[in-house]
């Protein structure tokens, strides 16, 4: 790539210039604040090198919120451009970059880390463990994700963003049709983050299977833990496919192979196929933990055990297997044989069966319950009708013959936003609010939270419901503008208004975080809502100490903490403390990931020497790690006593 030096930093666009200035100022402000308050060493020692699953979880969630902001701005820019026919807010090239980054960021750098953050924080607590199976790996996972995210995000100010859609379809994404570094960013940033996700998958899979506390058999695990387990299983078998596919396209773009190209008899459709072999399970990776979160919250605030627990488990296991058998529904129109389209039509529709079972089970969890409408519960309740709308349109899309009319249209856009926002995003909000006191020691303000909720949910429907009709009226996705005579003006304007409502709700949500930090009362017990059912609420203090449980709890049935409360057992009375073995913090993951970022950045611009230096550095850090026999340390009984005494005050 003969990149000129004056093309390295993107200039000439006022929007991008504004972003550059604000990033620069923001960066300076953060550095100045850290220096002024002398927090650098605290940041490095307590957070960045921490192997504590709780701190990593919070760092994941913070990154995800940042990405929700970034991806949300992208979304608002898209909606602004489409508000009226013939808008000149973004030129087509810029528009293409914006929707491409919107997709990648929302799925890979927002939804996944948000859920992984919640899983990180909550799952070890729910299974009564002191940490994950591989704490070091957990830190490395976070850093690879973070570096991938950072690499992807700098693309719009340095070199240019990917512009071939979040799917990066070839041959559009090959060198000939997407010259410039944008698509390289896509390939390398997702690759790095993907490796981190795979490590998370292995880590939590083993954690959940092997680290459960005494008495917690598989069928006594909370639903969130179950969905996390199955999610990890899907990650383990789906992400390697992405790794290979990305590597193959990287070879095409950087090293001259001809796999997906027009030259050399390449087959561009193989990319489409491989992308969705990963891509469909990916959808379930971001939806299953959401199901888990809703299950927890609905059962908590209905004060009832989850209805038909076994059926719920069977249905998620079924979904996990089926999720690998449906990927073709993303390209029914590729001219597959009628047999193939029929087969994948039916498997896709079949997924609606276990999903439907879950919906009815949630409804009947509330049947004969005592429902209280807290904010997390409201988000969970709003999920049901909205997700059903998204789900039934999914069944419509699954009918291949009809899909020829929906494919690539706003009908599809609306469908997947209905499923992903009402599923994943609602769950992220619900889960964050629900577990917020566990993470930060105080609740989020309910009143402000409800304002954010109503504005968001109404805005969401105003934004996306009209898009079904735009799709049926022939509006294809990804067009940067349209003509007045297309007749799409009114619905597009409505949709844009809805989008801005969601943006407003997000701001209120963020304000709530600040407001509650200042004014909310601090929690005194581990069971902030007073209705906790699972072990995460069984800790002595509101925020668990770094070792989680002074004495590991014993479990006899489902909803163990509810059980303990019913039976009047006081977990915290047990003071038979023993020294606790904990892992040590480590700085190699951050360094290793930084080197990965450096190597990848070099490859983006085809500066191979930077790539080689980075790769050598990565190997050196791995060797250092291999010779590191640090086994962690012991928390003494005195320290435990002291910590527990403080917590009980």
């Amino acid at each position: 790539m003969d990149l000129k030096w004056n093309e390295f930093i993107i200039t000439g666009d006022p929007l991008i210039l504004g972003a550059q200035i604000s990033i620069l100022l923001g960066g300076i402000a953060v550095v100045a604040a850290l220096t002024y308050f002398k927090k650098w060493s605290w940041l490095w020692k307590e957070w960045l090198t921490s192997v504590d699953h709780k701190k990593l979880g919070i760092m994941y969630i913070l990154s995800a919120l940042l990405m929700l902001f970034r991806g949300g701005i992208d979304g608002l820019m898209i909606r602004t451009q489409l508000a009226k026919p013939g808008m000149e807010f973004l030129d087509p090239q810029h528009y293409n970059e914006v929707f491409s980054t919107h997709g990648v960021i929302m799925i890979l750098f927002m939804a996944m880390p948000f859920l992984i953050g919640l899983i990180n924080y909550i799952v070890p607590l729910q299974i009564g463990a002191r940490d994950v199976a591989f704490p070091y790996l957990n830190n490395l996972s976070f850093w690879t994700f973070f570096v991938g995210m950072a690499l992807f995000n700098i693309s719009f100010i340095i070199g240019g963003s990917p512009d071939a859609g979040w799917t990066g379809y070839t041959p559009l994404a090959t060198n000939e049709f997407s010259p410039g570094p944008g698509q390289n960013y896509y390939l390398l940033a997702i690759q790095i983050a993907g490796i981190g996700t795979l490590m998370t998958g292995i880590n939590f899979f083993v954690t959940i299977l092997k680290m459960r506390t005494k008495g917690m058999t598989l069928m006594k695990m909370s639903m969130f833990t179950w969905t996390s387990l199955i999610t990890m299983l899907i990650i383990i078998f789906a992400f390697p496919v992405l790794t290979v596919a990305l590597a193959m396209q990287t070879f095409d773009r950087l090293f001259g192979s001809v796999l997906f190209t027009l030259q050399g008899d390449g087959n561009p459709m193989l990319w489409v196929n491989l992308f969705w072999v990963w891509g469909h399970p990916e959808v379930y990776i971001v939806i299953l933990p959401a199901f888990g979160i809703f299950s927890e919250i609905i059962s908590t605030f209905a004060r009832k055990q989850l209805f038909a627990y076994k059926a719920m488990v069977v249905s998620i296991v079924t979904i996990s297997v089926l999720s690998f058998l449906v990927w073709v529904h993303h390209f029914f129109t590729m001219g597959n044989s009628a047999e193939a389209n029929s087969f994948f039509s039916i498997t896709t529709m079949a997924i609606s069966i276990p999903t439907g079972v879950k919906i009815f089970n949630w409804l009947f969890t509330m049947y004969r319950g005592r429902i209280t409408f807290t904010t997390p519960m409201l988000w969970s309740l709003a999920f049901i009708p909205n997700f059903v709308i998204g789900g039934v349109t999914g069944v419509m899309l699954a009918m291949a013959a009809a899909d020829y009319q929906y494919h690539n249209t706003y009908f599809l856009v609306s469908h997947f936003h209905y499923v992903l926002i009402s599923g994943t995003v609602f769950a992220c909000f619900a889960g964050l609010i629900y577990w917020y006191p566990k993470m930060f020691g105080h609740k989020l303000n309910e009143k402000i939270g409800k304002w954010a909720f109503w504005i968001f949910v109404i805005g969401f429907n105003v934004c996306f419901f009209p898009q079904y009709f735009l799709g049926l009226d022939g509006m294809p996705r990804r067009i940067s503008t349209y003509l007045p005579e297309d007749g799409w003006t009114g619905l597009n304007m409505i949709s844009t208004i809805g989008a801005f409502m969601m943006g407003l709700a997000f701001l209120i949500f963020v304000y709530n975080i600040y407001y509650s930090w200042r004014y909310s009362p601090r929690e005194k017990t581990g069971d902030a809502w007073g209705l906790g059912r699972n072990l995460e609420w069984a800790t002595t203090s509101s925020i668990p100490p770094h070792y989680n449980f002074a004495v590991l709890p014993e479990v006899t049935g489902l909803d163990p903490y509810w059980d303990m409360k019913e039976k009047g057992l006081d977990q915290q009375k047990n003071t038979d403390y023993k020294p606790i073995h904990m892992p040590s913090n480590s700085s190699t993951p951050a360094i290793m990931s930084a080197l990965m970022g450096m190597a990848a950045f070099g490859l983006v611009f085809q500066w191979y020497w930077v790539g080689i230096v980075g790769a050598v550095g990565i190997f050196i850090t791995m060797i250092v790690r291999s010779f590191d026999y640090n086994d962690g340390y012991y928390v003494s009984v005195e320290e435990i006593k002291e910590t527990e005494a403080k917590a009980n005050k």
Partner: protein, 203 residues
Amino acid sequence: MAHDHNVNPNAPLEYQSEAGRLNITGFWTFLGAEIALFSTLFASYFALQSRVGDGPTSIEMFEAGLVMIMTMLLLTSSFTCGLAIHEMRANNVKGVIAWMIITLILGAGFIGYELYEFVHYVHEGVTLGTSAHWSMFFILLGTHGLHVSIGIGWIILLLIQLARRGLTPKTASKVFISSLYWHFLDVVWIFIFTCVYLMGMVN
């Protein structure tokens, strides 16, 4: 995280500590991911098999003798690696190191032949950019070769640690895991041998 109270002195050394057991299970899980990784490569290879463009077909390039030598080298290395673990369970450090060194030599021989094969193809004018078929051939074989090379480097590091520290639950589990990796690469090679070479030489 290690729960040291959970030590089982009757199990083989690598299974004795909680950390060792977790690592072994974790590594098996990783091998599950590797199965998905290689199956994607195989799937792509099959999909692109007939797309040779202007370039030669497999049957024009493959040489049965070379493939047989490579296969035998890797099969034998897998066997010697198994013997190393056998020695480890007999608590014989020297045996472990000796068999592992033989394994590494055989592995290095395999890599040598593979490099020879690649260089030979390039001389004949078959490169990464010749056709989709050959791109995929080099990527599939290259991925496997890279795995073997990483395995060699890794095991060398472990041998140094073994020489320094002797057999402990920690070194034992590391060595055991590296052996799993090595055997797994042999399993992958069996399929490369069958699906790429043998099937490519039929017709």
